[in-house]
Symmetry: D2
C-alpha cells in the first residue's frame, strides 16, 4: 500500500534514505536452494555504484552489502533474505541549502506536501541511492534465473540524440564484454566513444543529459505473464517507470509500431530446425496477449536528464515564496551508464516473479 | 495473483469471455455515498462499444450494463458493486477456424501453452471485449472523482503517421465536444478528417493500422502517488500497458525528454496570481518523484495495429505443424477511436485509487 | 483492502446484499482443467439454503447458481469464474421496522456509523446470506481438492450444552451419511435427536441458541502453510472467524491444550507399517509450526446464538435516542446445522489456496 | 505470499533466524509525524526478552534494537522504518543434536519437508525469537495509537488449570502496574503467586505447561473492521494464531457464548450519561458484524505447553528412521509471561492497521 514493495511471490521491500544509517532490502518468497554467490552480488552493485568513472557522480560509496538472514551454508532457505548496505560518504552539509527551498524537478516539494515532513539530506528517500537495494535484490533474482537458464542483458542505446545501431545479442557474455569495455556501457564501442565525449562536454558545462537503455531477456519459457492486468510487459513497464528519472517505456515494435500496418506488423509463426515454435519477425517483443511466447523479450527505457545542475535556478521555499537555489552537490551528468544495472535488476525481479507465479498452473 | 484484479483500495476484478454468457466486474472499495448516474455509465460504454461507426468492427453489442449490488437508492453503500454486461451477438461459428490453429500475433498460442485449455471463440478471455468491464468500472471512478473536482480527458492524437497538433484542454467540456464531433475521436477536426480517410482506406484493403491516444488529468491535487514502486506514473503506465494492443507509454517529456538537457528540462517553480504554486513549464507531466505536483498530468499511449487482417497467413496448429489461417471475422481496422474510452477509464481507476490511498496520511 | 476478498492464489471476491438483485462471487486463480460438476455445487448450496427443515429459517430461496465465465466445455480454463445466485424471496417489507432503529447485537449500528449509509433490508451486506456465495466458491475448491485426494468433513458437535461424543472419521463417506441422516447435521444420531429437541424448544420460545461445528481435513500433504504469519491454522482461524456469528476457533488440543504439560502434549513421531511418518497422538491437530505434517487436521468453531429473537427489545435509533424494536422476520433458531456447509467451504478455500501456494517451492 | 508480512496499510515484514546475524522488521505504511520514543520501544522488548526471571529461558539477549531508516529528528517520515536486533548469545553448538533428527511437536520435520533445507540452529526461522521483531513493530504501532487515544493491555489469565478472576481494567496504568508487580505477569497478585509456584515446579521437573493471555483494547472508535472477510476479530484471531504455540482464540462471549441463548446474549443498546451510545452487556466483545462498536474489545489467546522438555523422547531422523532425541538447550517452562508483550504487539498492529484502513471512508 505505501509503495515500497514490489512483486507478488518474489517480493522485495526496500528501505533507507540517502543520508541515513543504511539502505537495504528484504526479499520474501525467494525459492529455497538457490546458491548465493556473494561476489556476483557485489559485482552487480559495483556497476551501479557512484564514483566509478569520470562521467558519474564523485560521491564515494563502496556499496558493500551484508546478508543478515535467509541464507544457510551458501544456499537460500526459503525464509526472508535481509540485505543491508551502510551509507558511508554522507556529506549532509552539502544539503543544508535545500532544507527550506525546493529543488526544481526534484521530489522535494511533493514530499513536503504529501507527508508534512521530509529528510531533505540528499533527497532522503527520493534519492536514486535507493536503487542500490534493488540491484542487490535483482542480483539474487538473476542467480535464481540462471539456475533455469534465463539471462538478461541491457546496455545504453542512446545518449541525447546519439543512437547506437542494433547490436547482436546472440551471446550474452560477448555482449556484456563489449558493454563493459567502455564507461558509457554501450555495447557498440564506436558509439560509446561519441557518448562519452558528449557526456563529458555536458558535465563540463555544469549541465546534464538524458538517454535510453535497451534490454533483452533471453531463454524465457513460453507462458510467463498473467492476463489481463498483470501482463508481462505491463509489469515490466511498471518496474522500469518506477526507476528514478524514467519517463517512457516501450517493448517490441514500441512507439514505432503505432505507425505500422497489421500486414507488416504480424509475426508469422514458423518452426525452426530443432522443431521449436518461433516467429519469423519479433515485433511482438517476445510477448503476445501479455504472455511470453519464447522469443527474445525486448524493451526500451527512456531517462530524462538529471535535475541537479550546477546553475542557480529560481524556485520556491517552504513558505510558498519565490526563492533561489544554488547549483551544488555531487551528481551524475548522465544517469544511463549506471542505470544499466538497475534496468537489468528490475527486469530480473519481474521475470523471476512471473516464472514463480506460472508454477501454480503446473 | 492470477492477474484479473487492479487497484489497491478502489480494486476491480473483471471476468468473462468474448463469447460466454456475460462479461463484468466487481468493484471493491468504492467509497460510500457516491451518486451513481446510470446514464453516464451507459454513455461511457457507448463510446467503446462495437458497431458505432464505419471505422469500427461491425459486431453489434448494446453493451447494456446491469448493477447487481452495492448501490442503494442511487448511492454507493461502500459494499462491492457488481456489474454485468451480457454478450448478445456471438457469432461463435465465425471462430471455428481458429479452434486448432493459432492466429499470428494473437494470444491463441500462449494461452494454449500456459493453461493447456482455451476458449477459442473470439479470443475468449484475451478478447478486447473484456475492456468493456473496465469502462463500466472506470465510469464509477469518474463519478467519484467528479465529486472532488478531478477530470480526465483523452483523444486520438495519431493514426499511423498522421499526428494531431497540440490541442488546448483548458476546458474539458469544449475539448470533449470537439472530439465527439468526429468518428476518429480526435479533438482537432481537420486532422480527424485525414485520420478517417486513412482508416477507411486501410479497412478497404483488409488491413489495419496503429495509432496513439493522448490523455490529460486535470485538477489533480498535490500528493498522489506512493514512492518508490507505486509512483503515480508507474501505475498509470501499468494500467495503459495492460490494455490490449498497447506497446508503449510515456508521460511529460516522454521519449523526447531523453534527448534533452537538464537546463532546458527543469520545470522552474513559480507562484500564479492566485498564490498557487505552479511550474512554468511542465516537462514533468504533472508528476515529480512519482507524486502529483498539482499541474496537468499528461501521458501518451501507443497502440500497435490490430492483428486480425483479411488476408490468409501462414501459422502453426495445435500439433506444432505449419498450417494456414484465413482472414475472417469482424474486427476493427484501427482500434484507437474506441480506445479513448478505455484509456480514460484506466486513468480514472489509477487516479481514484491513489486519491484514496493518500487519505491515509491525513 | 475493503475486505470482500479472501485467499492469495485461489482468491474469491463476494458481492451482494440480502435483498438486492443477486449475490455472487468471482473466483480468480482457479487452476485450469478442473472438472466442474454443477450438480455437486448445487448440492453444497442446498445444505446451506434456508427453509430446508423445521429447525431453520422459513425464508424460501432455491439458491440456484449460474456460472457466467471461466468454464469451457465442463472444465475450468484458468480465467475468472463468476457465479451469481439471484435473490428470490425478498420480503423487504418485513424490514421496514429496522430502517431507523438498530437491532441489538446486529451490524446495523456499526454499518450506519462506518459508512453513513446502509441497505437496511434483511441486514443488507451484513446478512449471512452472503455465505451462499462462499459455499459456491468452496464447492469449486472441493472439486479441485478432490482431484488431488484431499477431503474435508464437518458436523455439528455441540448445540448449547449438548456435546456429541467423538465420532470416527476414517471414512468420510460414512461420516457424511451419518451426518446427513438427521436435520441437526450431527454425525452421532443419538445426540442429534437431543439437539433437534433442544433447538425446537428454543424455537417455540421465540429464542435462539449457539453451538459448535467440528471439522477435519484428511489426506492433506506435508508442507502446506507459510511461516510466520500465514500459518495454516492462522488462515483457517481467520476464515472461520469471518463467518457470521462465530466467536471462537481452536485446533488440535485447542483451549484444553493450555492446561496440559509438554510431556503429555508432545506428539511422538513414529513410522507406520507403510513406512509413512506419523505421530502417535495428534494434539498438534495436523499442523506444526504452522505447516501441515500429514496427519488429520482438526479444528472447532464456536457460534454464538443468532441475535434475532421474537421478543421486543430496547435499542437506539438513528438519532441516538432510546427506542424499541419488535421481534419480527424469519430467522434461524440455531445456525449450526446450516453452518456445516459454510465451515467446510471456508476450509476448502484455505487448504486449496495453501496447496497452490506450496507449488511455488517445487 | 511467502507469509512473512502482516497488515494492509501498516504492513510489517519480519526477517531473521534464531542463530543468524540478526533479526528485524521493516514497517511500511507508518503514518508520518509519529513521535518515536526509543526508550518505550526498548521497554516493550524487555518484557519479551529471554533471561528476565527464573521462570523464563536462561538464554541471554539484550535485544537492543537499532532503527536504520524512516525516522528523522525523532519523528516518522512516512517512509519505511527498518529495525534490526542483533543476535548475541548464540550457543549454536547446543543444537548439533537436532541437525539430523526432528524434535517432537516442533517445526523441524515440516520445514525439512517443505523447503528441502533448514537452518536447524535453535529452530532457525521457526524460533519464537522472531516475535521480538513483532514487539518492536508493535511498539511503534502503540505509539501511533497513543496519539489517537487507543490503549491496549493484556495479562496472564491462566497457567495450567489456575485461572485468574476477572480484573478491572478501567485504568490501564493501574492494571499494568499490578501486572508488572510479579514475574507471572498476572494482574491479580494472589493468583500470580500460585502461577509462579506451579511454573517453578514444572520447571524443576524438566517439563513445561500451557496457559492463556487475556487482552483488552480500550477507546477504540466505532467503525474499525472491514466486512466481510477482514472482520476486526478475524484479523485479531489470525494475528494471535500466528504467534508460536497458540492453539486457540476467542473474543467476547467466546466459546462459552456457544452454550447461551439469544435472549441472554444480546447486548442491549443504551445511552450513557455523556450521551454516548453503549451496550449494557458486552458479550459482543466490542465488535458487531466484524466492526468495532465503541465498547472495550476483549479476547483470549490459548498457548499450548512448550515442546522442548528435558526428557529423552523417541523421534525420527532425516532418513525417516526411528531415533531418539535428548532433552537439551535453554527453554521456557511456560511461555505466557513473555507472551503478554507479543499479544499486545500483535493487537496494536491489527488495530492500527484497521484504524488507517477506516480513514479511506472519511
Amino acid at each position: 500500500m505505501a509503495g515500497n514493495s514490489f512483486g507478488e511471490i518474489f517480493r522485495i521491500t526496500t528501505f533507507g534514505e540517502s543520508h541515513g544509517k543504511a539502505i537495504g532490502v528484504i526479499i520474501d518468497g525467494c525459492p529455497p536452494n538457490v546458491t548465493v554467490d556473494e561476489e556476483f552480488i557485489q559485482n552487480e552493485l559495483d556497476k551501479r555504484k557512484p564514483g566509478q568513472s569520470k562521467i558519474t557522480t564523485q560521491r564515494k560509496e563502496s556499496d558493500t552489502c551484508q546478508i543478515l538472514s535467509g541464507v544457510f551454508e551458501g544456499k537460500t532457505t526459503g525464509t526472508p533474505i535481509a540485505i543491508i548496505i551502510p551509507n558511508e560518504d554522507q556529506k549532509s552539509k552539502d544539503y543544508d541549502h535545500n532544507k527550506d527551498v525546493f529543488r526544481p524537478s526534484h521530489a522535494d516539494y511533493v514530499y513536503h506536501q504529501k507527508y508534512g515532513i521530509r529528510d531533505h539530506r540528499g533527497g532522503g528517500r527520493s534519492s536514486a541511492r535507493e536503487t542500490a537495494a534493488r540491484v542487490a535484490a535483482g542480483a539474487i533474482a538473476k542467480l535464481a534465473l540462471k539456475q533455469v537458464g534465463i539471462e538478461i542483458a541491457a546496455h545504453v542505446s542512446s545518449v541525447g540524440t546519439i543512437d547506437a545501431p542494433h547490436v547482436d545479442i546472440s551471446s550474452v557474455s560477448e555482449f556484456e564484454a563489449l558493454r563493459e569495455s567502455n564507461i558509457a556501457r554501450c555495447a557498440d564501442p564506436a558509439t560509446a566513444n561519441e557518448m562519452i565525449a558528449l557526456i563529458d562536454s555536458v558535465r563540463k558545462a555544469g549541465d546534464t543529459i538524458g538517454g535510453k537503455v535497451s534490454c533483452t531477456v533471453k531463454n524465457c519459457p513460453v507462458g510467463l505473464g498473467e492476463p489481463v492486468f498483470d501482463k508481462l510487459h505491463a509489469d515490466l513497464g511498471k518496474a522500469m517507470l518506477s526507476i528514478n528519472a524514467v519517463h517512457g517505456f516501450d517493448y517490441g515494435s514500441g512507439f514505432d509500431g503505432s505507425t505500422m500496418r497489421g500486414s507488416e506488423h504480424n509475426d508469422i509463426f514458423d518452426v525452426d530446425t530443432d522443431g521449436k515454435v518461433i516467429t519469423r519477425t519479433n515485433f511482438s517483443g517476445g510477448i503476445q496477449g501479455g504472455i511470453s511466447n519464447g522469443m527474445d523479450i525486448n524493451f526500451r527505457v527512456a531517462f530524462k536528464p538529471v535535475a541537479t545542475i550546477m546553475t542557480n535556478q529560481q524556485t520556491i521555499n517552504k513558505d510558498g515564496q519565490i526563492d533561489e537555489i544554488k547549483g551544488k552537490g555531487r551528481h551524475d551528468p548522465c544517469v544511463v551508464p549506471r542505470a544499466v544495472a538497475i534496468v537489468e535488476a528490475m527486469a530480473a525481479l519481474v521475470v523471476l516473479d512471473h516464472y514463480l507465479r506460472n508454477k501454480v498452473y503446473r
